[in-house]
Symmetry: C2
DNA sequence: TCTTTTTTGAAACAAATGTTTCAGAATTAA
DNA sequence: TTAATTCTGAAACATTTGTTTCAAAAAAGA
């Protein structure tokens, strides 16, 4: 047998993710990445691959983190409508406190169609959020807390769209109250 | 006096805008731009300036187009709530029929803070849309068509956020019905 | 120990990047 | 027509880009 890989791949991906997350795909150079990862480019190409493959690994890492955070935070579901409210409030909170916006949204608008394997990762994440919301909405509808005539799929899409827009708003205005007010409005108008 | 500028600056900006709109700022090269504009880079630097200044001109051109389109389409306002409905439907229509998403949204997430003069253009456009929506909402509230207890500012932000999210959704799913369903839901829940 | 295999570091690669240079063409006013 | 001025085209600029090369170092099994 022979020499083993010296660097911690998990840690390197994390570092690379942070750079991509902040600067986007095109604006990030391989030097930026190898500096942050603290590895030589030959090691990078040997183990992970080229810039594109590294980005895929990074955004996959990002979505995995996000999904785990949700699954952890909402492990024991209470009343559906209450969980939904908490989810909306948490979204508002995350959006207004994290230093960068969402890596997936940034990538979506940067790639826009022409990059199937990156989009696949983003779509999988989007599906997860959609299912999570849809389940809550359906439960709430069954208990008469949300209008049962509306499609749970549509309401889930609708809420998710709102969150995306909040990211945009916060980048432009950096106004936490704007987001909190919208969150309040959304919550009030769900019960109806 | 001396020789005059030979190329049509308006037309050149339009062409450059189309490239930036599609590919984003960082992923667009000066060669891409001069090819599309059909001018030499020396002419570009002589008249408009560097890449950054060109982008500012382009996104200013984009927002001007957008604002003019709105002012034209809604020149004679009918019933406020009806105009609002039409606006929402038009948004859904534009989002699901244009080849690229919104240049401002793309730029917002690509630049994200560190580019004040680009952001200023985007903010001005955002303010315009906000005011336009807010006026309609206030009128509708005065006539009891929309809940008067809610802040018109918040509802305007809220609707605008929705539209942003629709762009994102359409990039990911290319599903027109998703957007139309959300538009229907939004319209139904405004009157309340 | 030695051999085998693989990783690493530094340097190099060609191509692409944003930008500048400058001679010559073009245009207007005198 | 001439003089003055400015634009244009092609080439060149120095950096930066993503990626590769390869000798030397490292590690595990024989």
């Amino acid at each position: 047998m022979a020499r083993l890989v010296a660097f911690d791949e998990e840690r390197a991906i994390q570092k690379a993710m942070e750079v991509f997350w902040k600067k986007g795909y095109a604006a990030t150079s391989m030097r930026d990445l190898t500096d942050a990862m603290q590895i030589n480019s030959s090691s990078l190409y040997n183990t992970i691959g080229d810039k594109h493959q590294l980005f895929v690994r990074c955004i996959r890492h990002y979505t995995k983190m996000r999904i785990q955070a949700i699954e952890q935070r909402y492990a024991d579901l209470g009343s559906s409508i209450q969980v939904l409210e908490n989810f909306i409030k948490d979204a508002a909170d995350i959006i207004t406190t994290e230093p960068n916006s969402c890596m997936c949204i940034k990538a979506t608008f940067e790639i826009e169609g022409d990059n199937p394997d990156i989009q696949a990762v983003i779509n999988a994440y989007d599906d997860f959020t959609h299912q999570f919301l849809k389940n809550l909405i359906e439960h709430a509808q069954n208990q008469g807390e949300i209008d049962g005539n509306e499609s749970a799929d549509t309401i889930a899409d609708y809420l998710n769209s709102l969150f995306i827009g909040w990211y945009n708003s916060f980048v432009l205005h950096k106004n936490r109250n704007k987001i909190l007010n919208m969150a309040g409005f959304a919550i009030r108008h769900l019960r109806c």
